[in-house]
């Protein structure tokens, strides 16, 4: 039995215990404060990053259409047979691959199609991209897709997914303007961390697809999902649908484009010559590009994932570089199509009058060298208009020396030669307009009179692109306005609201007087219309076509050996009275401008205006 002892011991040690307990609780409070208040953000983001996954939904690219709404690039649905790995369960963790394999085997048996997925692909997908569908068969044909829906649709975790893929319904038509698209690079920022399921957009890689990529691409959507520690989806916490890209309306006219491409493909090339060519058709009233073609060409559909790889590699490895847009990205000596510039320079600066005549005897001695006319027999006595009509080299040699190289170069500069035209596509080359100062600086040589003579007929070091010549032709056609050429007319949203619109932009007016310009225009008219003109083959029934032929010699080095080829050109505008089109046709290798390029230009103009070409016998063709 315990006796109750009197107890008046107000034990001070209890205070010590109390203090210790209090201190302990205070420590807990402070530590909790540190974790929950001071470091809350850090732990909050750790919580999100381990349980939240974002899935990016790529957007469908906008269409590209011609000026009349003809669709040049669109999307088609691609049907992929997929399997959702996160809907499969293994009894144990290691078991899951066995389950996946038996599932795939069942699928292969049902569809009677082999599964080509590798073990590594399956494992990588399971570990890194589990909530995304794993593609078993890509791009099923419509009949296979129907078969799949019928036979395999009921299998668990299996689905048929339609993905928009880029499609160019007209194949290679306007391929160099449209360009092509491929899978976008994964953005290299913090977005692309390991918790981010990236599904690539289609990105434009060349041409309008590249330049207007920002508009065409649209805005990707996304899903935010919560996953548990085994990576299985628990809930969807957010969804934003992808926005379709804007529609790009081009200045191109698909009809004219087709006419141009067909005309190039049917060009009367000399035997053994390869088809390497370019053509540009501009509206001389605005600078709109109505057609632009380059040969050889390619089918942009080859760049969509899943296209036959061997054809694509042929395109990529072809020594003729089919991807090169020769209309803007290659430089050539212009030859006689430059003569209108020389003539105009002479008229403007008083070195030449319309009545000035020169006796052409087939060649001219300058210094100690003889410079030949293309017509070795000589043109006899020729005045300015005749010189252009017959493309008499001797007249231009002599007058060129009088006009002087600098003046000619200045005139060429006014037309935009030696500079970028400012086309709204990538890959333009500026070309080259040589001057005595340029030659001294870059080659360290003096400028000879022979150089001036060569320059006056569009040779020497002069290099131009077909687009530059088309702009020049357009300026002659419209009486002196050099337009900035453009292919993108406007960008509109899916609701047809205008996002951006290109206004025609005059780069400059050439300083030559209207009467001088008219003189050159008339001379160009006679090139085609006169029976002895060098551009007879470009004549079209019912409309008056003005033009100029050109044949420039260029030395190519092929396998170590020098090979001389003839760049053959034709520039033209029509109708003469109020020009609606200005065009340039170039063949890297042809017989002559009059024989090779002029008939092609004639075909194009006849097609554009719905006319037929004038029949001209071979004997009626005067070459240059």
């Amino acid at each position: 039995m315990i006796l109750t002892a009197p107890f008046r011991d107000n034990n001070p040690r209890l205070h010590v215990v109390g203090a210790l307990v209090g201190a302990g609780l205070l420590i807990l409070l402070l530590a909790l404060f540190r974790v929950q208040v001071l470091h809350a953000e850090m732990y909050g983001s750790r919580e999100q990053s381990q349980s939240l996954r974002r899935i990016r939904i790529p957007s469908a690219r906008g269409d590209i259409v011609d000026r009349h709404g003809v669709v040049l690039a669109e999307n088609r649905p691609r049907y992929d047979a997929v399997i959702y790995l996160d809907q499969l369960r293994g009894s144990k963790r290691q078991d899951i691959y066995r389950v996946i394999h038996s599932h795939l085997a069942l699928l292969a048996q049902t569809m009677n199609l082999p599964v080509t997925l590798t073990e590594q692909e399956i494992r990588a997908h399971y570990l890194k991209r589990r909530p995304l569908p794993l593609v078993v068969w890509r791009d099923l044909s419509p009949s296979l897709a129907a078969q799949f829906a019928e036979r395999a649709g009921h299998l668990p975790a299996v689905d048929l997914v339609a993905t928009p893929v880029r499609h160019y319904p007209h194949g290679s038509l306007a391929a160099h303007v449209l360009g092509f698209s491929g899978q976008a690079e994964q953005p290299d920022d913090e977005e692309a961390d390991e918790f981010y399921y990236y599904q690539a957009d289609t990105a434009g890689k060349q041409g309008v697809e590249k330049v207007c990529d920002e508009y065409l691409r649209g805005a990707p959507g996304g899903r935010t999902i919560r996953v548990n520690p085994s990576g299985q989806t628990v809930a969807e916490t957010g969804y934003k649908p992808a926005e379709r890209g804007d529609r790009v309306v081009l200045t191109l006219d698909a009809r004219i484009q087709r006419i141009v491409e067909q005309a190039l493909d049917r060009a009367p090339l000399p035997a053994g010559a390869e088809l390497r060519a370019a053509a540009v058709v501009l509206d001389p009233r605005t600078g709109e590009v109505l057609a632009m073609a380059s040969r050889p060409t390619f089918d942009p559909n080859l760049f969509t994932p899943g296209a036959p790889a061997e054809q694509l590699s042929w395109v990529l490895r072809n020594p003729a570089s089919p991807l090169l847009n020769r209309a803007i990205g290659a430089r050539y000596a212009p030859g006689s199509i430059f003569k209108p510039v020389t003539l105009l320079a002479g008229l403007q600066h008083g070195a030449v009058t319309s009545a000035d005549s020169v006796l052409c005897e087939g060649s001219l001695h300058i210094g100690n060298r003889s410079f030949g006319c293309w017509n070795r027999r000589g043109h006899g006595r020729v005045d300015a208009a005749t010189a252009l009509r017959l493309s008499c080299d001797v007249w231009f040699y002599q007058k060129g020396l009088a006009i002087k190289a600098e003046t000619i170069a200045k005139e060429a500069g006014e037309f935009g030669l030696g500079q970028l035209c400012g086309l709204d596509l990538d890959g333009e080359k500026p070309g080259l307009v040589p001057t005595p100062a340029w030659k001294r600086l870059t080659l360290g040589e003096r400028w000879w009179d022979g150089d001036t003579a060569q320059l006056s007929i569009g040779q020497s070091f002069l290099l131009v692109t077909p687009l530059q010549m088309a702009c020049l032709t357009a300026a002659l056609a419209n009486g002196g306005t050099v337009w900035r050429p453009f292919v993108v007319q406007r960008v509109v949203t899916a609701e047809n609201l205008i996002v951006s619109e290109t206004k025609p932009e005059a780069r400059r007016r050439i300083s030559a007087s209207p009467s001088d310009i008219e003189f050159v225009r008339q001379a160009m008219l006679s090139v085609v219309q006169a029976t002895d003109g060098t551009g007879r083959a470009a004549a079209v029934r019912g409309i008056r076509v003005a033009g100029k032929t050109g044949t420039a010699e260029a030395d190519l080095r092929v396998h170590g050996a020098t090979q001389r080829v003839k760049r053959t050109w034709f520039i033209a505008f029509a109708p003469y009275e109020s020009p609606e089109v200005a065009l340039t046709v170039l063949f890297e290798e042809g017989a002559s401008g009059g024989h090779t390029a002029a008939p092609v230009a004639g075909q194009i103009l006849a097609g554009i205006f719905g006319r037929t070409v004038e029949r001209v016998g071979q004997e009626g063709l005067h070459a240059d």
């Binding site: 107890f7 034990n11 040690r13 807990l28 409070l29 909790l32 929950q36 909050g44 750790r46 919580e47």
Partner: protein, 371 residues
């Protein structure tokens, strides 16, 4: 004297202590519910209802213990102590093996953990022993050694189960009671140093998982997907709760299973509260415990005799250790051990032990001085 009329008991009991206890019980049941919640339409595990049953039983014990004079209960101290040792021996022989440790004695479908009962038995035994020593005797080293010996028997038996956390609980109980009983500081320090010297031996005998837990405590990022998982996920849960929390049933760490479902309702219940109620909630819980422990010490200071004072001190030491180690564990302040949070964590044995201990506190208060 042994028993009191119910009316007097209710008139004299500490209603604040009772209210704090009920508050903690309610919070506990609510968050055990939340901790086992897995989303709408998912089957609801019955943990929270089981816990209510345990509290029902515990409340019965509470009333009984409250009503019978603590001096009478302590007269049987030797019996309680012997019984506890017997059960500890029994569990080593016929205990149910869970996760490689024999801690459970199966009684039908229910299981009890003798280690939890041993804590209470030690408190009563020590109080009874120290109460019967004269003040001079209590200042002798021999009293300290005897006290430590009383502790050592259950300590070793619990350690070999193994249950490191429960064994460690006996240390603050013993030292706290010896200290309050008047043992000399130098003797206590000497005893503590001796204990430290024995630590390497303990380390040597530890299981691999125990060592891992301790090393992980020192460096939680060493193995975040393995041994450090619980600690890391608990830290993320507590930290991401922020100031005000994500809301009841909104804790993703717990419902998605990042905080493992096997530990969320018991050892890591505090993490669930902290995630869903934020710093406000966790400070509230700490505040409730502060109130409880302060009442305990108040009762110790106002006990009728040294026996009551020692009993109350032992109970406060036990509860404090549990609170500190458990909450400290959820935020990486303490190593991960299975020390439950009094009145909150899911688990029958410790609920019963805590309720009995609180009943004893009430008992001491009812029979306080000036009576």
């Amino acid at each position: 004297m042994p028993t009191n009329a119910p009316i007097t008991v209710f008139k004299r009991m500490d209603w604040l202590l009772f209210a704090v206890m009920i508050a903690l019980v309610v919070v506990g049941v609510c968050f055990i519910y939340s901790a086992s919640y897995r989303g709408p339409g998912q089957p609801m595990p019955a943990f929270w209802r089981m816990q209510l049953v345990w509290f029902g039983v515990g409340l019965g014990l509470y009333l009984v213990v409250m009503a019978v004079d603590y001096r009478l209960i302590c007269q049987w101290a030797t019996l309680w102590y012997a019984l506890a040792i017997l059960l500890l021996l029994l569990v080593l022989v016929v205990g149910v093996k869970v996760y490689g440790a024999r801690r459970w004695l199966g009684v039908g479908r229910l299981g009890i953990q003798p280690a939890e009962l041993a804590k209470l038995a030690l408190i009563i035994g020590l109080a009874y022993y120290l109460f019967h020593r004269t003040p001079e005797q209590r200042r002798r080293a021999s009293t300290v050694w005897s006290g430590l010996l009383l502790m050592a028997m259950p300590f070793v038996l619990i350690l070999v189960e193994p249950d490191l956390g429960s064994a460690m609980t006996l240390i603050p109980i013993t030292f706290g009671m010896l200290f309050v009983a008047g043992a000399r500081g130098k003797h206590l320090v000497l005893a503590a140093l001796l204990g430290l010297c024995l630590t390497p031996v303990a380390w040597w005998h530890m299981k691999k998982y125990q060592r891992q837990r301790l090393t992980v405590f020192l460096n939680p990022d060493r193995d975040p997907l393995g041994a450090g998982w619980n600690l890391n996920q608990s830290l993320i849960a507590v930290g991401s709760g922020g100031v005000t929390g994500k809301g009841f049933l909104q804790g993703t760490q717990n419902s998605l299973g990042y905080l493992p479902r096997t530990v969320a309702p018991n050892d890591f219940l505090f993490s669930v509260i902290a995630e869903e109620k934020g710093f406000v909630g966790s400070a509230g819980v700490v505040g409730l415990y502060a109130l409880l422990l302060w009442r305990g010490l108040w009762i110790a200071a106002h006990a009728r005799d040294r026996l009551g004072m020692l009993l109350a001190t032992g109970i406060v030491a036990m509860l404090f250790f549990h609170v500190f180690v458990n909450i400290g564990m959820t935020i990486g302040l303490m190593p991960v051990t299975g020390v439950p949070l009094p009145l909150l964590s899911y688990g029958g044995s410790f609920v019963l032990v805590t309720m009995t201990a609180l009943g004893l506190l009430q008992n001491i208060w009812i029979h306080r001085r000036n009576y």
